[in-house]
Structure formats: structure tokens, C-alpha cells
Symmetry: D2
Subunit: 281 residues, 4 copies
């Protein structure tokens, strides 16, 4: 049997850039990280060391900074579409381009309640993600949120599950539910205003999470996904990864104290990991 190359990809990751956009009465700071992956006819590069079809990842990096100067004027979705188009158009051996953009959130500093014109504070772990997957025939635009760390102190339980000889978990009708979500959704077409759509979907996800009477992480995950699909016809499918950041009731009985769902051990590991995709049929 012959040995041969199958699926392969290459590109530059973690192209970290910032851009200052100067508006008349305030500045805007954009801070993002770009990953680029190209697929195509790169057999000879692998088998014979023939680099004549290879665009160096260093050149990809230069291209991103140069394009940021001219084309990073609105959403990362729009910037990603331009980058993907460029790499596909100018590199015949490439059949697929995947651009993943991660935008960090900076908020204008409030000084005596007023947004400062050019000072900013970082908005936390949460990141806005855009992914452009473009081939000669197809284009898929996806967006998402990484590291969205949310928690609710009630309206969450976990009961009625399988019990076997290894069960020690106690059923509970009231627990802390905490998770650091990674979420991705696909658009059937690029939204007119990707940032507005992103913010609206984000708000929808947070509202679902907050008000859902959660019987399990799975139950809340589905509710969040279903709500987005109902409200946003341009979203065709949504995938949520929800690690369960367990808050475990600390047993205070040995010290003569009760613990009515008050004091918990906040843990990172081990953690439950619940993932699911909700879609239209």
C-alpha cells in the first residue's frame, strides 16, 4: 500500500495587532489576534521539499498588518472576509482559506461617570470570534464568543439521573451553575452589521442563561441554542461548549456548622464538559 499525504494545512497563528482609530471626539482601540490556515495542493512541498507553491507564514503576517492599515475599519467579520479573499485570489494552489479572528474587548474608562476620550480598561476574558472559511466554491461565515464566564446562584438543579454502584453524588434542586462558554454559530449569509448581530446574539444567550430553570447543563445549553435559532433566522446552527466549573458544597458538619448552600469549594479540575450543536432540520 502506498503511503501518501492526506489532509494538511499551514499558516501563521497569533498575529497580534492593535489599531488606533481617531474619531473627532474620542479614540477607538482595536486589539485582535489573527490565525490563518491555508489548504490546497501542497503535495510537492511535503514529499520533495519543493517550496514553489508555498507562501511563507511570515508573508501572511505582513499582509495582515498591511491590510489592517487599510481595511480594518469595521467588524472583524468584514476584515476576515477581505483577508480570505486576498489569500485565495493570489495563491492558485490554495483551495481553502480559514481566517480566525479573536478580538479582545477594551472599554472606555469611566472617569466620574463619563467615558474618557482615549483611556481604556480591558473588558475581561470574554473574546469575540469570527471565522471565515472560504474555498473556490463556498463561503462560510461563523462568529462566536470564547471564555464567556457566567454563573447563576439558583434556578439550577440536577436530579433524577442514573444511579449505579459508583454513585456518590447527592441530588440537588438548588446549586450554583458556573461555566466558561465557548460558542460558535454559522450565518447563512454575512449580516449587514456583524457587530450589531453579534451583540444581539450575545444578549440573547445571556438572557436565556439567566432566566432558564435549569435541570442540567445540557438543558440550559439546548435552551440557549434554541433561543438564538428562534430569534435569528440568519443563524443556521450553533454549537456551545459549556465546562461545568463546579462549586462543591463544603461539609461543615465536622465543625458543628450547617451549610445551607452557602459556602462552596470553587474548583477548576476535574470538570464536567458538556457540548452540543443545535440546528435547523
Amino acid at each position: 500500500m502506498a503511503i501518501h499525504l492526506q489532509k494538511n494545512a499551514y499558516g501563521k497563528n497569533a498575529i497580534n495587532l492593535s489599531k488606533v482609530i481617531r474619531h473627532p471626539d474620542h479614540h477607538e482601540i482595536r486589539h485582535l489576534s489573527v490565525d490563518i490556515a491555508l489548504e490546497g495542493d501542497f503535495e510537492a512541498a511535503h514529499t520533495a521539499g519543493d517550496n514553489s507553491s508555498i507562501l511563507p507564514t511570515d508573508t501572511m503576517k505582513n499582509t495582515v498588518y498591511a491590510f489592517a492599515r487599510q481595511h480594518l475599519t469595521a467588524s472583524i467579520e468584514a476584515f476576515g472576509l477581505i483577508l480570505a479573499g486576498h489569500f485565495l485570489e493570489h495563491n492558485p494552489p490554495v483551495c481553502d482559506v480559514r481566517i480566525t479572528l479573536t478580538e479582545y474587548c477594551w472599554k472606555r474608562l469611566l472617569v466620574e461617570g463619563i467615558p474618557h476620550p482615549y483611556a481604556f480598561i480591558n473588558g475581561g476574558s470574554e473574546k469575540h470570534i469570527a471565522i471565515v472559511s472560504k474555498s473556490r466554491q463556498n463561503l462560510l461565515l461563523s462568529a462566536g464568543i470564547d471564555d464567556l464566564l457566567i454563573l447563576k446562584t439558583t434556578d439550577s438543579g440536577f436530579e433524577g439521573y442514573i444511579r449505579d454502584q459508583y454513585t456518590t453524588l447527592k441530588e440537588t434542586a438548588d446549586r450554583i451553575l458556573s461555566t466558561s462558554c465557548n460558542i460558535r454559530w454559522d450565518y447563512d449569509r454575512a449580516p449587514e452589521d456583524p457587530d450589531a448581530t453579534y451583540n444581539a446574539i450575545r444578549q440573547d444567550l445571556l438572557r436565556s442563561f439567566a432566566w432558564h430553570k435549569s435541570l442540567s447543563v445540557q438543558h440550559t445549553l439546548y435552551a440557549m441554542g434554541e433561543s438564538v435559532l428562534r430569534a435569528f433566522p440568519e443563524v443556521t446552527t450553533i454549537t456551545l461548549q459549556m465546562p461545568n466549573k463546579h462549586h462543591i458544597l463544603f461539609n461543615l458538619q465536622p465543625f458543628g456548622l450547617d451549610n445551607n448552600n452557602e459556602v462552596f469549594i470553587a474548583t477548576d479540575e476535574p470538570y464536567g464538559l458538556i457540548s452540543g450543536t443545535v440546528s435547523r432540520s
Copy 2:
């Protein structure tokens, strides 16, 4: 020359706990990490393996959870003072107790503009720190902020510095200043409302940073420290660590493009580290 034990300390670190406080119309979530260090007469434990003076770090952990049940009702400063008093009082060999408390920030989720009663979103990398250092004779209460990630897009320059044969940096009257501050200040006495004082000092620091015409990181660091000392007579000294998270102008000339302070490489390493203590004489 005899070999002997000098300074030593032991304790439990990263005691991660959460507590739900149920108010009539909303819940409060407290999420903190506690580090405990004891110093004292532990010579025999080290030289002879005699543990009769050693309080196990596991017991420290249990104590923190038990005390959280009853005493974590207000600021982490107040909780730290109670913990320090307990360990000092009940452990005669101990001469110094140091409790470091790190509080993570959770904000009530805004759903349609209204704070949700029991759903929360993480408030970012910034942490509120309290440190209680208590001996038989003395008590020092300190507070601070860790990982306060702030940035300004103008009113920052760096000129007029030493030039030598290894200089390649270009002077600039306009650059991005970005830093992830770790700040500590000492109180001459415990504030009546430590959270209110903390928030006021934090606001003062942010205002100084935002409005300062920065001629260097050192210049801004001093201005921030001086401002706190002027406004808060209960603060005796303040130390700021300000790593310079460099945003480096990307050279677009090879591509026929100008770059008027617009597009930057956002870097983590290497980084300038500026630290200083401002005090009253």
C-alpha cells in the same frame, strides 16, 4: 560555623471558595482565594521533625471555609482580620500571620438593561487584594489591585533619554501606553468601610492614569501614587508595578504604506517593568 534555620514560613495557598449571600430581592456571589502564611518558632519541626507546634495546612483550609460560613459577611479586609486574629490567638508558637485574600469580580448580568437578581458575569482579570500582616505587637492592613489592564492611545510619549551605541529606539511624543498593574497600599488603620475606600482609591488611580500627560511610565506611576496619597490620608505608602505591554509600530514602508501611529504589533515579551513606591516622609 554553625548551620541554622533563618526566616521561614508555611501555610496553605489557593484556598478557593465561593459564598452565596441571599438578600431579599437578589443574591450576592463572593468568590475568593485565600493564602495563609505563619511564621514563628518552628525550629524543631525543621531540624528534628517534631510536628508538635505545627498546625496542618489542611486545618487552615478547613478553618477558612468554616469562618467563611459565619464571618464572610462584608469586605475581604474584615474577613482577613478575623482569620489573622484566630490563627495568632490559638497558636502560641506563631509570631506572625499573613493572610492574603484575592477577590474575583462578578457583576450582575444586565438583562434588558436591568441587573438580574441571581445571574452574574465575570468582571475580568482585575482582582481586589487584601493583606493582613499581624504579629503579637503589630497589625498592618494593606489592600491593592492585581492585573488591572489599562491602556491609553495618546497623551503618552518617551523622549530625551540616554543614547548610547546600543540605542535603536526612536523618540516619540505620541505612543500607546498599556500596562497590567499590580498595586498595593498600606493603611495606617483599617478603614471603616474598606470596600468604599478601595473603590474610591481605584477610581482615583484610573482618573490619574487617564488624564496624566505621560512623559514615561515612571512619570505616570509617580503621578498615580502621589494622587492617592494626597487624596487618602489613611494611606501611608503605595507601590505600583507597571509592566509596559509594548505596542510597537509596524513598519509598513516596504509595502508602500504609511503608518501614522495606526497599526501596532501587540507584544507580551520582552516587556519593560517599572516599579516604584511613593510614600510620606
Copy 3:
């Protein structure tokens, strides 16, 4: 269009365990982390909060520790096969089980050149991975290496690539090649001695890397994969991820010094990421 659940999975991750195995003349320490993911008919759990088909992730964790007591006696591959069989057999709604095992490397401490009977030193970032994917009909056993950090100081170049208006990279016939590999391969059947096979494949990969005249990362990646497939008929396919940990020549000309491939900036970001799968047709 109806909204419905598509692909979904849940399980416990980062079940960190250690086991001491006491041989007559020395101890053995096993240190691993287990991730479990179950797929199957969990529609009702998602849509209706019906947990009657859900095995809690806490129970999975207990099961792993209990099984480690009795069944973690040889390779992680063998242990994973037993775990996968258990979860599939005892949970009718489950159609697919995926067990990922990560083993940390501890080496016996050399004291005056002799392996100590029960003291160990950690063997570095490199981890041995085993993955068991088992359904009612199929079984796939894979193994791999994570975070294998290797470097060569010569026999690596990068020339003859595409040049465009964004090219600034200089061609080089001699550079440092450094990468932190993640590698996975599939077995057509479980090897008789998975640890022996693992070690032999690992040696083969290192030898290929060391002696290959590298014309690019892609070129070396393919050579490493091809070599394994040639030498190990039980391996059906192998995937390598090779981030390029760039060592960039520092320009010493401004200081009147040459730099004949001697002094480099060691960088983490941005980084080239090269990945490829080599297979039999």
C-alpha cells in the same frame, strides 16, 4: 423549519490520578489525567431536562479511581480499553465512548548514577496520549505524544518560496528548526505491548527529525510520518501538528557586529502552524 439537537457529548475531564505500584525492589509511580466523553440518545435531557439517561460526570470520576485500583496495571491504552468497555456496556443510551488518557512522565532519580528505588523527577513537558473510541460496532485505538519540544541547529533551510509584494523574509539554507509537536496515530488493532510500540514509534520520530535534511517544516513533517508508516504496519494513519517556534536572527549590524547564525530572538508568537496527516491508500 424545526429546531433540533445535533451532535452532542458530555463527560468528565481532567480526572487527575496517581497510583503507586510497589515492586519488590522499587516503586513505580503512574500519574495520569483522564477525559471521558459519551455520545448517544440524550435528546430528552436537552429538550426536557429528563436526566433518566444521564450518568453523572461525578460518577464517571468515581469509576475511574475505582478502576485504577484494580485495572491500572499496565499501559494507559489497556486501561482505556477497559474503561470504554465498562461505560458502553452499562449505559444503554450510550452509542459512543471516547476515553482520552494523558500520562505524565516521571523518571527514577539517579543518585550517584544509580536509579533510586522510590524517588522520581518529572520528565518534562512531553506526555504520552492514548485515545479509545468505542461504539457498539467499532473500536479505534489511537496513541500519540503531546508537547514534544525538539530543536535542531542545522540541516534546516527554507528557500524557493513564493515572493509577493508583502514578502520581507530572507531565504536561508541554514536555520534553527524548533517545534513543540502534538502527534496522533491510529492502530489497526491494539498492539500486544502498547508501551513498547509507543516507545519504538517515539524513537522513530526522533530519529527522522534528527537526521532529516529539512527543506521546510512540511518536508520534515511528512518524512516523520512516512517513516512511522513504513516501520510500523500496525499504524494506519498519523497526524502531526508542528508549530514553528521561530528563532529569529537578531540584527547586530547597528552595533558593528556580524551575526553568522549565532544569536537569535526566541519567540512564542506569532508562530507558523503546520499540520498534516500521512496515511496508506
Copy 4:
């Protein structure tokens, strides 16, 4: 009371560099990270933004790479001494220079049992540290090890400690002792061959750890420090930080299984932290 600047320092951190040294029959790869901190008369820079005494941290970085070209030929201790001398000599406002050098360990790859001439594998988390603290009057040379991850499966117990109302820990005469040590020692003068001395001290520490009948972490910490001071007259003081990476016995009783010190939960947090300095009087 006047407000004024107290202790302050500035410099460049994480200057990551590699150097290839070409010997006749093999290559050597050096990979290190350098931190520089200057103290001195920088009052005007802080209070008035007067940078005329400030050497930019960017220039420090350039200097390190330029000096690496010519002077990084032997130990990092020797390189640090040269760097410290340079910065002190050429910068009159500086009164103290502190150079911290962290060397990563690369080992020559064994291919069929023979060290490869120019291929390397990373040697793990352990790092060799050198610290040069130089003022106009004094010089202190220190060395150390960071992230030395070691473990023993027996000859470690913890008994006879204080019991109070918060005690739940069970005494044990046989437990796993695992720690990730950070160790620093001061030399009374620079060793003739710093690498040889470093390696000998490292071996001494490992031997002490391995053979010590440990009654507590404190007990082992002191034994390790004392042994170094006895064997190395050029070492004046040694400080060890030994976090207790707890391996906690998993309770298998609910599943009808015994657990005779066999299966443990390997945890990172919370952790005991034991630190101590051993010195000559």
C-alpha cells in the same frame, strides 16, 4: 508631610535569546531569558518626566543580544557578571544592577543510544537561575533552580501535629511527597566553574531529597539546605520554596474496595507552601 519617591526600579524582562555554538563535532544550543533591573537616582524621571538619566529598556535588550554574541561563551553566571558590570559602569545614575538569568535545558537527542550532533530535546520544566546583584560597593552572586518537580512514594510521613476543632486530616506514616521546588543560594565569591558547582549542588539536593526520612516538608527542606551548606563552603545561605503538590488518598470504601496507599487524587490547589532559609551563623 511631604510625598516622595522611595524604592524604585526599572528594566527589561523576558529578553528571550538563543545562541548556537558550533564545536568541531557537535553543536551546543543555549536558550535563556534575561531580566534586568536598575536602581538609582531616578527621582526627576518620576516627578518631572525628565528622562535624561533613563537608559531605555529597549537599549538594555539590544545590549543583551549584542553581548550574547561576544560574551555568552560559558556559564550564565559569567554572562550576568559582564552585563551587570557594563550597565553599572556606563550609567552614572545607577547605584544597583540586578541581572536575573534563566536558562532552559536542552539535551542532545539520543539516536540509537548516541548523542546526536545537532538535534536536541527539551529537558523539562526545570530551569537554571543565576542572579547578579551589583552595586558600586558590593557584588552578590546567587544561583538556583526553578520548577524542579520531584516526588517520592515513601519515606515520607506527617504525624504528631496540633489537633484542634477544625482538624480532619488523618495522620500518616507513609504518603507521597511531591513538590515543585524553587531554590536560591548565595555564593561568598564566584565559583571558578559555576556550571560544575551548580550541577554538584543540584545533585546534592536530589540525593538529600531521595534519601531523607521525611517527617514533614519542613524537615526535608531543612535537610536539603543543611546538606548543601555542609558540602559547599562557598555557599553562605540557601532558600527553598517547596509547595506541597498534594496526592490525596481516594476513598474507595463506598465501592467495596480497599486503598492501601495505592490510588490518589493528584491536585494542584489548594497547596501547602513551605519556605525556609538555611544559613551559617
